[in-house]
Amino acid sequence: MKVEEFQYDDKIVRKFVVATVVWGVVGMLVGLIIAFQLVVHQLNFDLPFLTFGRLRPLHTNAVIFAFVGNGIFAGVYYSTQRLLKARMFNDGLSKFHFWGWQAIIVSAAVTLPLGITTSKEYAELEWPIDIAIAVVWVVFAINFFGTLVKRRERHLYVAIWFYIASIVAVALLHIVNSLALPVSILKSYSIYAGIQDALVQWWYGHNAVAFFLTTPYLGLMYYFMPKAAQRPVYSYRLSVVHFWSLVFLYMWAGPHHLLYTSLPQWAQTLGTTFSIMLIAPSWGGMINGLLTLRGAWDKLRTDPVLKFMVAAITFYGMSTFEGPMMSLKSVNALSHYTNWTIAHVHAGALGWNGFLTFGMLYWLVPRLWGAKQLHSTKMATTHFWLGLVGIGMYVLSMWAAGIAEGLMWKEFDADGRLVYATWADTLPTLNPMYWVRGLGGTLYFVGVIMMVVNLWKTAKSGTPVDQTDAAAPLPEPAGAGAGGLHRLLEGKPLTFTVLTTVAVAAGGAFEIIPSLLIDSNVPTIAAVKPYTPLELEGRDIYISEGCYNCHSQHVRPFRGETERYGPYSKAGEFVYDHPFQFGSRRIGPDLHRVGGKYPDGWHYRHMIDPRDTSEGSVMPSYPWLADDPLDLSMTQAKVKAMTVFNVPYSDADVANAVENAKAQAAAIGKRLEDQKLPNAQDKKIVALIAYLQRLGTDIRAEGAQ
């Protein structure tokens, strides 16, 4: 038998490890800042680029794509080479992948605080960056599948299955959800509108959780857990069944983010049922992870790597039970838009992704930097307990806050009045819980800093490893070895990838294509008209300031919402919304029916200082909106872009866009003057006021007819 000698590329893994740690610290620090902004509004510093609405997307993107993303790549590059007994396909592609991804992160860190955003959650980056993401992802895919081709191991291990599914699915999700029409180098409009945009977005949002935060990490778990425990994986058969059921079922569950909205009932039903059916496939991974430790539980006492991994897998099991429960309509009626969701995602992010990453890093760094051992096991153990207590405080306080909020929003007294009539009435109940959350986050962060020190000292004590020598025989001819059909499939990466793609694509195709093609899914409302040019500009300011991070725009059919906000939202009201602005969280009240609720002057004063009109508000002040000039240079192009989507603007509407905008601005300026405020007709704030005053009002005209 001919044995080949070759080297694994460890230098690229080291780079990704460093990036994981650095971006992890950045992403979590931003998270801490925005956590405290919710109790101390002064922490927004009245500066545009430090407001919650702009920093929150930076936090989510940094944690998901920078911290977890680099963690995935570190683990994938390390394990894939070893599982396939081959160096990565091409070192140049590896480097391009690394530097390309870091460049994308840096561009995100610059554009998001500047208010350059598409407002689609976890897909906020504008189109040039989206294209860069697609390019880098394809390079990663070529590098990965190239390695598959030149592998010396005939069969693919379960970790590789999960990597394949992740690479295929993320490409699909990213491209379909990011389709947009550019109007300038840094501004584009989603090609989908309203409820269809919402469906595509949450198909993406849910499955970004699935195929970015879950399946790659299951792959990492399947490699690093048995390596660290030095025990066999519990059940190969379970791997097969839970892999296929997971990748098939996941894609259908996206609509559970839109329960009780104007999304068609059939799509909501799919969201609920497929979420429930996901419990077992998810738990298959948990079982295989935890039971791998059978016979080695005693190691848990001494080995921080295993501590982190076992806790991570436990959090995974907990989150994947909680998620389906929140997809039941009766639970979602209470939990949606509340801090309960925040608790849920952080159990996943801090517990599953964070802890698995930390476990992996403590295992990898001594090996990659040629150190004899970790600098301090004791410090790592302290990190573990700090992190665990931190997560506990975080999750428990946000559960309590979420349930309390959900109940307060729905509470009526015997006279039929809302007990918590103003938004600020709910805040005293929530504030102590926000403090506990912030403290929990701080503990978690202190643990991470301890890890940084520990890993740094570990690395200093050794000699960095650039490559590892390996030797392996060429793979046996096809068909060799015993095993069933699936074993055969594991020897055929192309067929395996095609089948995975089919399984992954089915759910999205079944839900999204009919909703785009069948008109009855979005009943039209004759009274709903396109936005005026000024309102369109105001909408872009709303998007740019990240208002959707705290304000929803969708009233659900509950007494607690219709009495507070007005009639519940209908799908036909959103047909000109490119992109949709439903939001996912109510840190402030819903705004879909805010149009006409207050006079223009109220909005002016509220934007300059929210405390002026709404005592106890925690909203940031937006004084620059009254200072910054209203820029109408793009207005005509924007209106014209909308006509590409068949928004019914006439040629005259396009030709007179700027004139019409100025006239409307002058009228608002006059009203402000009448209300003894500065006539701000040439400032950004009038466009925002115009947009807010329009929200949800068209349907009233229909009622009047």
Partner: protein, 183 residues
């Protein structure tokens, strides 16, 4: 997990071995139950008349309407009587200071909302009209409906206090709007 056999499969990947243990029965049970749940859920809500969200909403609103307290409608004379009661005026002032000053100012001179001290009224100056305006609001003009925040009695108290502002001289009055009302 009685059926664990811990038979190692013949392959290994970078030193990782796998057992060929069967699927845990309880796990399979959960999977089957979740599928059965879905198979029942779909026909129940889509073919057997299970309540859609609009139906649930209608039921919730009907239940609220059925349990709502009956508010006795008071005529102008009865409202005048309330408006003469100092304790009601006092209560009305407290509510006014909390909810109304942002738009109408503390002395009623008006700011975003109209002046309440002059004899001009946009939506009528009788106590009946004022109570109605507060209760239902004037959504197209930015006056919100207060009935979900204030009880009928509270609204009458606010009207009683607003009544005392007539003819006072605010520091910075807004120009008159609406029709004169001579009560």
């Amino acid at each position: 997990m009685s059926q664990v056999n811990d038979e190692l499969l013949d392959h290994e990947y970078d030193g990782i071995r796998e057992y060929d243990n069967p699927l845990p029965r309880w796990w399979l049970g959960i999977f089957v139950i979740s599928v059965v749940f879905s198979v029942i859920y779909v026909p129940y809500y889509h073919f057997m008349g299970g309540p859609h969200q609009e139906d649930e909403y209608a039921a919730e609103m009907a239940a609220a309407a059925a349990s709502a307290p009956k508010v006795e409608k008071l005529d102008e004379a009865a409202l005048q009587k309330i408006a003469a009661d100092p304790t009601r005026i006092q209560a009305g002032k407290a509510l006014y200071d909390k909810h109304c000053v942002a738009c109408h100012t503390a002395d009623g001179g008006g700011l975003v909302g109209p002046n309440l001290t002059d004899k001009f009224w946009i939506h009528g100056g009788s106590l009946t009209d004022i109570v109605h305006t507060i209760t239902e609001g004037v959504p197209e003009k930015g006056m919100i409906s207060w009935k979900t925040q204030l009880s009928a009695e509270e609204i009458r108290s606010v009207a009683a206090f607003v009544n005392t502002l007539r003819g006072t001289t605010p520091a910075n009055p807004k120009a008159p709007e609406g029709e004169p009302y001579e009560g």
